[in-house]
């Protein structure tokens, strides 16, 4: 019972704080007569969701689908590259400097040029998300493939197993917890990537709305977008978390 109660408390207490903060926010701004375009009140933000000219569902989907497509590409390429650089010394030597170079280059800096090279379309936006998310997946996956119990490798090899068997029976399953750690970092990064891409060029999406709310001084639209971004970000993170738990019932954090 004590446990059940503390479980509920973990949700209730922050919610009470939220309600208090919203009240302070609302009445504080009214009292100080802060103009709407500097900081909107919670009520104004709520009203922003009912702005007739904005299709929130469609714009959310635009940003979400860019993030998802980039995330998927990043996962496939990240995992694939990790396998390649772990299994081949030659390719590791050849590719590592380029992979690191791609990572140290600030993605925001190259974003405008990506559009020139790949065109002002979704491909560029997805590519930008991909650039931002593939690295944590690659690094974590590569670590998971190498950071194995050498005893297990000795055990398999003493029974005549080859590299492929070692890879399939030891390295690959061993890498799963590491992969999911990488996926969690990248899932949140994917939303960042999509917004950055939309800031540089877009005709729809939450990044587009935020940018336009700045031009039109309609800040409550930006705040409404933030709320959606938080919800979508949490959703994506939870999906990864849940898939991890389903894929690895054997996993307990040490």
């Amino acid at each position: 019972m004590a446990n059940g109660y503390s479980h509920i408390r973990a949700y209730v207490e922050p919610l009470i704080l939220l309600v208090v903060l919203l009240f302070v926010w609302q009445f504080g701004l009214e009292l100080l007569q802060v103009p709407h375009f500097i900081l909107p009140t919670p009520v104004q933000i709520a009203q922003a969701f009912f702005t007739p000219s904005i299709d929130w569902l469609r714009n959310t989907w635009v940003t979400f689908s860019e993030a998802l497509a980039g995330f998927a590409t990043g996962t496939i390429v990240g995992v694939g590259l990790a396998v390649v650089i772990v299994e081949s010394k030659l390719l590791r030597r050849l590719l590592t400097p380029y992979i690191v170079t791609a990572q140290v280059l600030p993605k925001v800096a190259v974003a405008p040029i990506i559009y020139i090279i790949l065109g002002f379309n979704d491909v560029s936006r997805i590519f930008l998300v991909f650039l931002l998310v593939f690295f944590p997946i690659l690094i974590n996956m590569a670590t998971g493939l190498t950071d194995v119990d050498t005893n297990l490798i000795h055990l398999l090899k003493s029974l005549g197993a080859g590299e492929l068997t070692v890879f399939l029976k030891v390295r690959l399953p061993n890498s799963l917890p590491y992969l999911f750690d990488g996926l969690k970092i990248s899932a949140t990064g994917a939303m960042v990537g999509a917004i950055v891409a939309e800031f540089v060029s877009s005709s729809a999406g939450l990044g587009f709305i935020i940018l336009n709310s700045q031009y039109t001084f309609n800040t409550s639209l930006a705040f409404a977008s933030f709320i959606i971004l938080i919800v979508v970000g949490l959703f994506l993170y939870e999906v990864v978390e849940l898939s991890g738990r389903l894929a690895m019932p054997w996993f307990q954090r040490r």
């Binding site: 119990d149 005893n151 297990l152 000795h154 055990l155 398999l156 090899k157 003493s158 029974l159 005549g160 197993a161 068997t165 029976k169 030891v170 399953p173 061993n174 799963l176 690895m248 019932p249 054997w250 996993f251 307990q252």
Partner: protein, 257 residues
């Protein structure tokens, strides 16, 4: 005293004048084993004891065929089945993503064999019947070691290799596990090579102990342990057990008074 490899009709494996040199990253040559000869007889437990870094583990890897000697030969006798080793390590070294049953099954799987009956039999021997569907994290440290025992034996190895097994287990659990492991070794009559730096465990497990010097590893002594073949837990309280421990300390050139 350097024992020569003795001609013995029932030897399972013979190591003759084996030396092993490693090249370090800084390109220095390190002699890990220096002219080691030994003969492993059928159904005996042979312990190689020596200080850390004396090349004991190197010797096991050579026996397992994971490495080749720099010089000398290792002769493996195929018995009724091809020569195979079973491994028990310092840690349980289980696959945490596999159930207990699938962990024990691993050697059979790698060899492309099926022997459900042997898995069930060994799980029963290590008293883990009913835990087949559990994952390693759900078991205590001692239970995990018993899974490792079953896995080391499931494919009926020609030699069981014990690489400082039961390291890091608390003393009381360790004595129980030693007794259990010894009982199983005797019950299925498996030949075993055991490397350790634990004097008590060396005497408890062995029919014969070879003493190794610090690097480069060289065999500097041999002691026949003529204690009853069945090793009871109470053996430790007997005078004969103490006497062997003392002789072993002397052979290791450790103070005995």
């Amino acid at each position: 005293m350097v024992p020569e490899a003795i001609e013995s009709p029932n030897s399972v494996l013979r190591v003759e004048h084996v030396s092993k040199t490693y090249t370090t990253i800084s390109r220095e040559s390190v002699l890990a084993l220096d002219d080691v000869s030994l003969d492993i007889r059928e159904n005996e437990v042979l312990t190689v004891i020596g200080p850390s870094g004396c090349g004991k583990s190197t010797l096991l890897r050579l026996i397992a065929g994971l490495e080749e000697p720099t010089s000398g030969t290792i002769e493996r006798q195929d018995g009724r089945a091809p020569f195979r080793v079973g491994f028990m390590f310092q840690d349980a070294s289980l696959m945490r993503w596999r159930t207990i049953y699938d962990n024990v099954k691993l050697p059979l799987e790698v060899l492309g064999k099926k022997d459900e009956g042997e898995i069930v039999r060994l799980l029963k021997m290590v008293q883990l019947t009913g835990f087949e569907r559990k994952y390693p994290f759900e078991l205590s440290g001692g239970m995990q070691r018993r899974v490792a025992m079953a896995r080391a034996l499931v494919h009926k190895p020609s030699i069981l290799l014990l690489d400082e097994p039961l390291t890091g287990v608390d003393e009381l659990t360790k004595e129980a596990l030693q007794a259990e492991l010894m009982q199983i070794i005797r019950a299925i009559n498996v030949t075993a090579v055991h490397v350790t730096h634990d004097i008590d465990q060396a005497v408890y497990f062995s029919d014969r102990v070879l003493v190794m010097s610090a690097r480069p590893g060289k065999i500097i002594g041999e002691i026949d342990v003529q204690l009853p073949r069945e090793r009871k837990l109470s053996l430790r309280t007997e005078q004969a057990f103490y006497d062997y421990c003392k002789r072993l300390r002397q052979a290791l050139r450790l103070p005995t008074d």
